[in-house]
Every structure is written in C-alpha cells, then in structure tokens.
Symmetry: C2
Subunit: 352 residues, 2 copies
C-alpha cells in the first residue's frame, strides 16, 4: 500500500508522499492556485464561497489555465476540487457549474444543518456519475459521526481549533479531535479517510497529523503566502510579519459584521489577526461606528492592513510559522519532503 | 544519543523511550502518583498548588512511600518533581520543604509576573546546590523567550490550548505553538529542551508532540484516570464517560468563583467539563446564587458531579480519549510503547 492511501481516487497526486491539500479560502484560492497545487502532486481547491454566481465562469477560466499548464483531465474530470460555504450557497448554481466543468471533489462546509448536505451530495454525485468525490468538513466528534452515517462522504475533513477563518467557536485542536474522531469511526466500523485541517503549516505539523491518524493534510494559512494567492499585498505582508500566532489571532464575529456578511450559523466565528476593528469592538465601539471606520480603511488600500489597521486578516494560529512567499507547488513539495524527514528523524531516536 | 535526551538529568527514566511526565494537578497528583510514575521510567510531579503549608509534610510522606517502593534517592535527591502555582505560593515555605526533602525538579506556573521567577529559581538552585532542576511552563512564544533569557530554566514546558485546568485564555494548541517556540529559541541560539503539555493523552499525541520537536511530553488529564490519583469517584467517573472533548469542555473562570479561589492572574482561565455551574453562569445566574448552589452540591458527594451536576471537573479536550483506569506506571509504559509504534508505523508508509 502506498503512503498516500487516497492516491487511487486522485491519481495525479504523489503516491509515495503525504497527501497535501490546499484548503479553499474565499476570494483567495482561485483557479491558478488550485491548478498549481494539483500540478505538483497535491490537490488544490478553488473556493466557491457562498455566492456561487461567478462559479461557472471561474471554472471555465480554470479549465483553460489548466490546459495551458499541461494539466490533463483525469477521466474527463478537472483534477482540482471546489469548496462551498453551504449555509449561503445555491445548489442549482453549483450543479450548473459542475455539470459544465466536472471536478474531482467538492468540499462542503457549514451548512445550516448537516442534513442539508444529503441533497447536495446526492445531486452532485448524480450530475458527475459519481466521479466527483464528496468531502465534508466537521469540527466535533458528533458532527463526524452524523455526517458519516447520513451523507456518507468519501472524505471527512477534520477542522481543529487552530484554523484561520471560520470554524466552530468551541472546538478542540487536531491533537485530540483527530484521534477521537478516528476512534469513534472505527468503533462504528466506518471506513472513511480523514484529512486534517487547522494548524498545519509545514512538514512538522503534517508529520504530527499523520501520527494522529490523518490520511492527509490540508493547509490554508500557509497558502496565503504563495505567489498564486489572490491576496492584497497589505494582507500578505501582515501574514509574513506576525509572530506568536496564538497570542496574535482571535476567534470573533466582528470581522463578519464590518464586512457586511450575515448568515453564518451561530456556532461559528472566524479566526483572524487581532487589529483595531477587534480591539475597538472589545472596548465597546458600536457596530455602526466600526463599520464606518472599516469602510474608510478599505479606501486606504494596503495601508488598511496591519496591527493598527482595520482590514480583516483571517489567519490561523500557525501564522507565526509563515515566513516567506513561495509558489504553491514549492509549498506542496516542501511540506511533503519535510514531513517524511521529520517522521524518519523522530523514529530514528527510538528505533535503532 | 539516546531517544530520551533528558535521561542524563533524570537517570531513572527510560533512556530509549520517550520522556513521559505526569503533570502536577492540584490536590490530585500527590506523592503516591508521582512516585509510581518515577518508579516506572517517567517523572512524576507532586502538585504543591498555591498553598504550600502542607508541602513539607507531604514530601516527608512521599519520601517514606518512595523508600517503601524501593525507589532510590539519586545523588541524595528524591526522584520526583514538585509543581507550584507561583501567583499564590510562598517561597520561604517552598525553600523549607525542599531543603528538608530535595527533589529532582520544580515546575513553575503562573507567577504574577515572569520576573518573579528569577528569585525563585536562584534560591531553589542555591538550597539544592543546583541539583534541583528548574522547569517553567509558558503559553506563548513571547513568554518562552522572556523566560529563556531571564530565568534561564533547565526545561521549558509549553502548554497548548487543549490543556485542562488553568492556562492562558488566549493560546494556540501545541500544533503551532510548539514549533514556533522551538524556532524562536533556535533563532536566539538558546538550547533549552522543551516538554509539550496540553492535549496529549496517549501514544499518538505523544508521537505528534515528538515530531513537532518536543524533548518529552507531560500528561495531566490522562492521569485523572489512574489508581493513584487523589480524586473523587464522581469526578473520575465523569472523566471516563465524557466524549467529544472539544465540545464538552470550556475555558472559564466560573469554577474558580464557586470554589472561592481568587488571585489567578487575569490572563488565565480554567478548562473543565461544562456543567450546570457553567451553563447557569452563561444564562446570567448571579455569582452569589451559583456559589450557594455549588456549596449544596459539595454536600452531595459523588452525585454532585456529572453534566447536570455542579462540581468542578477540570479536564482537557483529550478527556474523550480517556476510557479506563490504569495504574500510573501502566500509563507511562503504554504511552511510551504506543508512541514509538506510532512513529514507526507512520514512517514505514513513506520510507521503504
């Protein structure tokens, strides 16, 4: 059995290296990034977000870009995935886009209720003849078990508490959540591979997730610092400069408020770098005033970011480990290589 | 170099197995537990808590128990450690107890300010002729760097966000905090071994911590379910029955309030299983009423615990992975064995 147990379903991935995924990040991970990751032995996800009206056009451009890069279709399928924020997404728009441009996987996240995913999975499987694999992201053991028994996804993504952007406000990190989910699935004799997300930035984190039982790893924050990310310079510069990720980032809903994004299920918040928007809200500034100041900051361009800035800088606690901009492909290769070296080195200390 | 790089300083520990520590838990990890851990190749800590008036007597009884178990003094030193909650601890009481019964290590935690630890370290090193090693627990990269440069401890304990009981309210998990601290120390050319704490329950978590760069691992929650723990049956039963640790536990200060414990530095809270004390506080119950109800629950004995109960059940997010009561020694051995097996198995997938 190769190291990458998911290789059979995603045959362009490296068979003998850890399975590395670029997680969907709304407005940031689009076609070029997804294609670059898949062209380098990983699996990249284009972020559909919650407004799917541009999805068909985005996928069309992505297919063109893939062709220009020599990235082949596999069994008629574009070898990338698409991520959805299901609470706000329109299934018909998704189906229309995926019918025109079938992809290898869809990643569901944050439906209003988990049972909503049944219809999504059924219809996407139908439109792709089962070729599009269903991934579902969860944040608790209870969610994992419910999803495994109802939607029966092809992959479960376990999102630990260190993740950037949105996630359940109350959650464990992968350190305990991942093995507890794996044990719970095994107890029910459910065999679904799990991908670890939240706090994995380099080969050390990837190696840790593999020892905890993951079949592969998904990175978000790390890909904020890649040349293919669609990201403002002010945002990317802040990601590179911030240290002490646990102390510098906070889980909050204020960044949704100032950006005018309503509709996230109540159990969720978003982790980002604490800035003036957050600190002022904590000090009691009214939402109306905070929104007004945010809109002024938007006009400042890159200067609107930074610890004294007001622009939202979603990032996980691993942001302190992100120190340079690399290409998406280099990130995939370096994480794979460093993960294996880390495992070898750690084992060699105890096994002669 | 043996796997256990700390073996030279703690020569009764297993040289070729991961270094496993039983973390101090106030009123729960006392002499029998600490001795049992050290007698089985680990390092056990007797919890001094913040009221050190019984410490000299506790250490005297522990020394007797160690002798009865055939656990030798090493270089005149009792082969266990003692933990302090420094914000409330009296240094003179500590010195008197440690002079009478020197121990292998002291573990400092939560001083009012980090600079307070300088005097503690200096005086304890003086009273033991440098034989008592200084351990300091931190929760951020900034704390690690400050402590490393000032107190210059022999060991830094890094406490990630999954830990039970008290810790910094705003923190990353070990997944990102541990490698970021290790990189920050390396950048400053500081060579102090780090022990990982917070979310490690079994060999999988231990293996993960080792891949992230830890020189050893400290377990707290897991030792709540050991036969040597001083713990009410109601508490231990709840630890065994609770699942989904991230969803079942919360970080809060309400448990200090009802127990009448004042003085924790403001940046700290405590993670415990969410129960009626917590839920009522969230619903707006007055502290006075919550205290009164708590005091009634205390009278109920073991029935005062449970999800509908009111008794404090500090535990980390790993509580869902704790499923049976074992002896402290069996826990040490099984974590060591499983950690090495996990590393071997994970490596073998990618290295032929």
């Amino acid at each position: 059995m190769p190291g990458n147990t998911l290789h059979a379903d995603y045959p362009w991935t490296s068979p003998d290296a850890p399975f590395v995924v670029a997680a969907p990040m709304m407005k940031i991970t689009l076609g070029r990034l997804a294609v670059s990751v898949s062209a380098n032995g990983g699996l990249g996800f284009l972020a559909g977000g919650f407004d799917l009206s541009p999805l068909a056009k985005d996928l069309g451009e992505t297919a063109e870009f893939a062709k220009s890069q020599g990235l082949q279709l596999h069994d008629g399928i574009l070898p990338i995935g698409v991520g959805f924020q299901n609470w706000g997404s329109d299934l018909q728009l998704a189906l229309a886009a995926l019918k025109e441009h079938p992809v290898a996987a869809v990643w569901f996240f944050a439906p209003k209720q988990l049972s909503d995913l049944l219809d999504w999975a059924k219809q996407i499987r139908a439109v792709s003849g089962g070729k599009t694999k269903i991934w579902v992201q969860i944040g608790t053991v209870a969610e994992a078990l419910e999803v495994a028994k109802t939607t029966q996804p092809d992959v479960i993504v376990i999102q630990g508490a260190d993740s950037g952007g949105h996630g359940l406000a109350q959650r464990a990190s992968l350190l305990t959540l991942l093995p507890e989910v794996i044990d719970a699935l095994a107890e029910e004799r459910i065999d679904i591979p799990v991908i670890a997300a939240g706090g994995i930035v380099d080969g050390r984190g990837a190696a840790a997730a593999l020892t905890l039982g993951a079949a592969g790893v998904a990175l978000g924050t790390r890909f904020l610092a890649c040349s293919e990310a669609v990201i403002a310079k002010g945002y990317q510069d802040q990601v590179l400069s911030v240290t002490d990720g646990g102390a510098s980032t906070v889980g909050t809903t204020i960044y949704d408020v100032v950006r005018g994004i309503h509709g996230w299920p109540r159990a969720y918040n978003g982790r980002g770098i604490a800035n003036s928007t957050y600190h002022d809200a904590e000090q009691g500034m009214s939402e109306a005033e905070n929104v007004e100041k945010y809109e002024t900051a938007v006009q400042q361009g890159d200067a609107g970011w930074g610890p004294e800035g007001r622009m939202t800088t979603y990032a996980g606690t691993g942001v302190g480990l992100v120190r340079e901009v690399m290409s998406a492909g280099e990130i995939v290769k370096s994480v794979q290589k460093e993960a294996v070296q880390t495992l070898q080195r750690s084992t060699a200390k105890y096994v002669k």
